[in-house]
Symmetry: C2
Subunit: 151 residues, 2 copies
């Protein structure tokens, strides 16, 4: 299994490196570390999360590097209801999914919707873009509620 994971990560890292090059940025050790953390985590991470998971990182550098990775399109920023931004790998590096946001603790978990749901959504989205002057780039379907831990 370790072998498989390594292979996946290698591909991923290559892609991330390309995207960073695309915006004139290097793929440094710390940026690799951040991507690795995001790969391992099954939910978006806040900066405090990251700092706890890897004590060797400076807060300001984490902020800066996540901003760089976001600009490069390798990482996506997730906004919840609490005071912390969270970060996850860009969907095209992982898979399309949605979020379960706990209104009690602000935590986020991922979930995947059925193909039918996604098809319906896609249709609705094209409808909107033809009806209004708005150009959709992305959609987010979040369920707000109480997570198993807080219940």
């Amino acid at each position: 299994m370790a072998g498989t994971v390594t292979t996946m990560s290698d591909e991923l890292h290559t892609t991330v490196a390309e995207r960073l090059r695309g915006v004139g940025q290097r793929y440094t050790r710390q940026r690799r570390a951040l991507v690795a953390l995001l790969v391992e985590s099954r939910h978006p991470l806040s900066i405090p999360d990251v700092l706890v998971l890897d004590r060797g990182l400076a807060q300001s550098s984490v902020y800066r590097n996540l901003a760089v990775l976001t600009q490069a399109g390798a990482v996506h920023r997730v906004v919840t209801t609490d005071d912390f931004s969270r970060y996850e790998l860009a969907e095209d590096l992982t898979h399309h999914h949605h979020h379960l946001i706990c209104s009690a603790c602000g935590g986020v978990e991922d979930f995947t919707a059925s193909a039918q749901v996604e098809r319906t959504l896609a249709r609705a989205i094209t409808d909107v873009s033809t009806t209004t002057g708005f150009t959709p780039e992305n959609h987010r379907l979040d369920l707000i509620g109480i997570c198993a831990t807080c219940a």
Copy 2:
């Protein structure tokens, strides 16, 4: 028309007053003013928006009163991608809708999805609650993209 609006507002204000009482809060003049602003606006308002629309309001009181109204379940806080929280009337005081969030300016507009989309979503949501330990209270379907003004 003025008459009609007044009637609608009266009902609304009564409901808001009840909800405030429910959490041991009064429906003061300033809270009325805030609700009135939210009724008139076709999209969620940020605190700066509110302060511009009504120069007589103190910033801290607006924050406080919107927090109170939110607690009472009369107002809902909307998080976008920029630094400002926005506020709108609770959906059960208006109607169920979704948001078009501009990734360029952070602005928000409302849109309504078709009944079929909502039906599909509802089914997906019950699926999730049975599959996971998560208890959904609400869902949000936001389209991220570029608004007509920024395009």
